[in-house]
């Protein structure tokens, strides 16, 4: 018990130091331009009884519950109504594209691929000035900045960090120490040993996602697009091949859930149910799973640092809030977006849902998570260790989805033995070239 308390205290201290460190190491201090922004009397009169739609998806029940509570507070504050449209993650873009085409546009949306909607998004600078972007972590607004006008068209709502989560009980039973640092060979060796000792179906599982695999490529020093929108995969192709072969070999050898990856066609698939069912001791995913694991896992689990090869750290990702030009009350939509992304709401969301903050002031203050403080501090530490080159792909926000999905599909072909890792990387290189060429048309 004493050790647990000590660990918890240590984790809180570490988390506060690390979050403060994020700001100290090159991140700008928060600008107070829109902090504490309240609606004017005229706005309140104009907004009374007006309804806006919030297009939303959630990774956990906690996210939905917190959002509903925040909406209730917003409705009290403004007198406006917010209709919450909860959309399954797998059809997030499909449904939104259809709604945009049909003119049934929501006012505000939580998205993970905002680059697809740049032309439809509201220019936030006309409501909150240009300095609003500076309230968020440097670099995190790249994906919500119009590449042509350089205007802010959305805000980063949460920062996600990829990394491994382990089943501590199974590690202990196997006599394998919980790692504090490791490389990929050590991770795989430990996973195999734990699998054998516990008789689990698999040793390792990763979300079926090109984004998640990009983390491994980054750790081996391979990247796809740089900040100048240039294809850099040819310069690191051997490292990319090595990392791709390493992961796909695990699937080929049935050490990872091949059925989940190959048997789901072109769909995203998460092995979280396999991890919760204790059929895999090492689950490579991200912090967005913690709320679900806290609720559903009937065993001790822990986030462990990302393996380090040439690089350590994870891979940047996250979700974004965007308001749409087609809103009938764009000022109300913009204000609602601002409200959701203000320091108080973000802090509450981060605490309840184990999110990583994107606002400089929240990062500087540190988030006192009610539990899993050690896990969150590991994610924060990995955020700081993530190489700058990993942010390069965000320079092509309209293409990231295509590039990640192609990588995922090529991995499927390698796992099935249809092509080699070398052929996959060559095809991916050609695909990226073709995609980048569309930008120049």
């Amino acid at each position: 018990m004493k050790i647990q308390k000590l660990r918890s205290k240590l984790a809180i201290t570490l988390s506060l130091v690390l979050t403060a460190g994020l700001v100290a190491t090159g991140l700008p201090a928060a600008h107070a331009d829109t902090v504490g922004l309240k609606p004017t009397a005229a706005q309140l009169t104009a907004w009374k009884g007006k309804e806006i739609t919030y297009y939303f998806y959630n990774d956990s029940q906690a996210e939905l519950d917190t959002t509903k509570a925040q909406i209730a507070d917003f409705e009290k504050l403004t007198g406006a109504k917010v209709k919450l449209d909860v959309i399954p993650y797998t059809s997030l873009d499909t449904q939104l594209q259809a709604r945009l085409a049909a003119g049934n546009v929501p006012d505000v949306a939580r998205l993970n691929n905002p680059g697809l909607y740049i032309k439809d998004s509201l220019d936030l600078e006309q409501y909150f000035s240009r300095k609003y972007a500076a309230e968020f972590i440097k670099g995190s607004t790249l994906q919500v900045t119009d590449p042509t006008t350089k205007k802010l068209i959305g805000v980063p709502y949460d920062l996600s960090m990829n990394g491994p989560i382990i089943n501590v009980d199974q590690f202990k039973k196997a006599g394998v120490a919980v790692p504090t640092s490791w490389n990929w060979a050590e991770l795989i060796a430990a996973a195999k040993k734990v699998r054998t000792a516990n008789g689990t179906e698999y040793a390792f599982a990763m979300d079926k996602s090109g984004h998640r695999f990009s983390t491994v490529m980054s750790q081996f020093g391979a990247f796809m697009v740089d900040k100048n929108q240039k294809n850099v995969l040819p310069t690191s192709k051997f490292r990319a091949e090595k990392s791709l072969k390493m992961i796909t070999d695990l699937y080929k050898a049935d050490l990872a859930p091949r059925d989940l990856w190959i048997g789901t066609g072109t769909k995203y698939a998460s092995p979280i149910a396999v991890f919760i069912g204790q059929q895999v001791p090492v689950f490579f995913s991200g912090n967005f799973n913690l709320a679900t694991l806290v609720k559903d896992a009937k065993f001790n689990f822990q986030v462990v640092p990302n393996p380090k090869e040439l690089n350590g750290g994870g891979w940047p990702g996250g979700k974004f809030l965007v308001a749409f030009k087609a809103s009938k009350t764009p000022d109300l939509a913009a204000y609602f977006l601002h409200y959701l992304a203000d320091a108080a709401q973000m802090d509450q969301m981060d605490k309840n849902c184990f999110w990583l903050p994107t606002r400089n002031d929240v990062v500087a203050k540190g988030v006192a998570y009610p539990s899993r403080q050690l896990d969150m501090s590991i994610y924060l530490a990995d955020t700081a260790k993530t190489p700058a080159a990993a942010f390069g792909i965000q320079s092509v926000p309209t293409l990231t989805g295509n590039i990640y999905n192609k990588l995922r599909d090529l991995m499927t072909e390698v796992m099935a033995g249809k092509i080699t890792a070398k052929q996959a990387i060559q095809t991916q290189t050609e695909f990226i070239d073709a995609q980048l060429a569309t930008l120049r048309k």
Partner: protein, 282 residues
Amino acid sequence: MPYLFVAPNMFIFFTFIIWPAIRGFRISFFDSIDGRTFTPVGTGNYRTIFGDPTVASVAKNTATYVIFYVLISTFLATALALVVNEQKFAKGFFRAIIFLPVMLSPIVVGLIWNDVLDRKVGPLNSLLQALGGGSPGWLVEPKLGMIAVIFVGVWVHIGFYSIILLAGLQGIDRSLLEAASMDGATRAQIIRTIILPLLKPTTLVIIILSTIHGFQSFDFIYTLTGGGPLGATTLIVQYIYDSAFQTPIQYGLGSAAGVVLFMIIFAFTALNFLVGKKREAI
């Protein structure tokens, strides 16, 4: 006056079927990644469809699926209808059991069979292992994936076809069967020489309907295999869906593929109509 009565239905039909179809046909001559801005490409999308090796593979998958689905469905539905028609005990119960899968949501069907066919923990492979068999990768091996999809497709629809055939069977004049029986015909002879020929018109309807269903299959396949493994169960409707709604989004290409599917189904519907006409003339 009669036009007034059909007006509500015609309004709905025009708004939700005819108008979108016309729009879809028009969009098939454009390129669009967002459904709002359209660049004219002439017949470019159609040329892509007929020149793309992926489409060749999708066409092959669709043809394989439709042929086996139609043959197996028709054969099994006829057999089931014959058995149920002869049943004396708990008739209603067995008919309800046969019809039950038809009432299930195709999404649920896909999810259930996805669990049942799981290579490692699925009940089917557990049973096979208990019987000394292996663990076939139903959803991992391309050939097995197609077999699994055909099986589930037949399982879902067979009740519907059986009920139609049952109605056809019950329309056959019993006196013909009794006369044949009195003349010493065996059960097999009665089926082969009397029942099946008289059931031909209904069987033809089943063949046409199942062909159309086969071409339209998507929902349960999408939840069962997602079109995998390695695109082995990607049929034409999923190709339309993927082109239009999965990145890289190509609404024009999806619409063009939709037009091609329409032409195929239209051909079969026309065939159905012509056969019906010919039968009436006889």
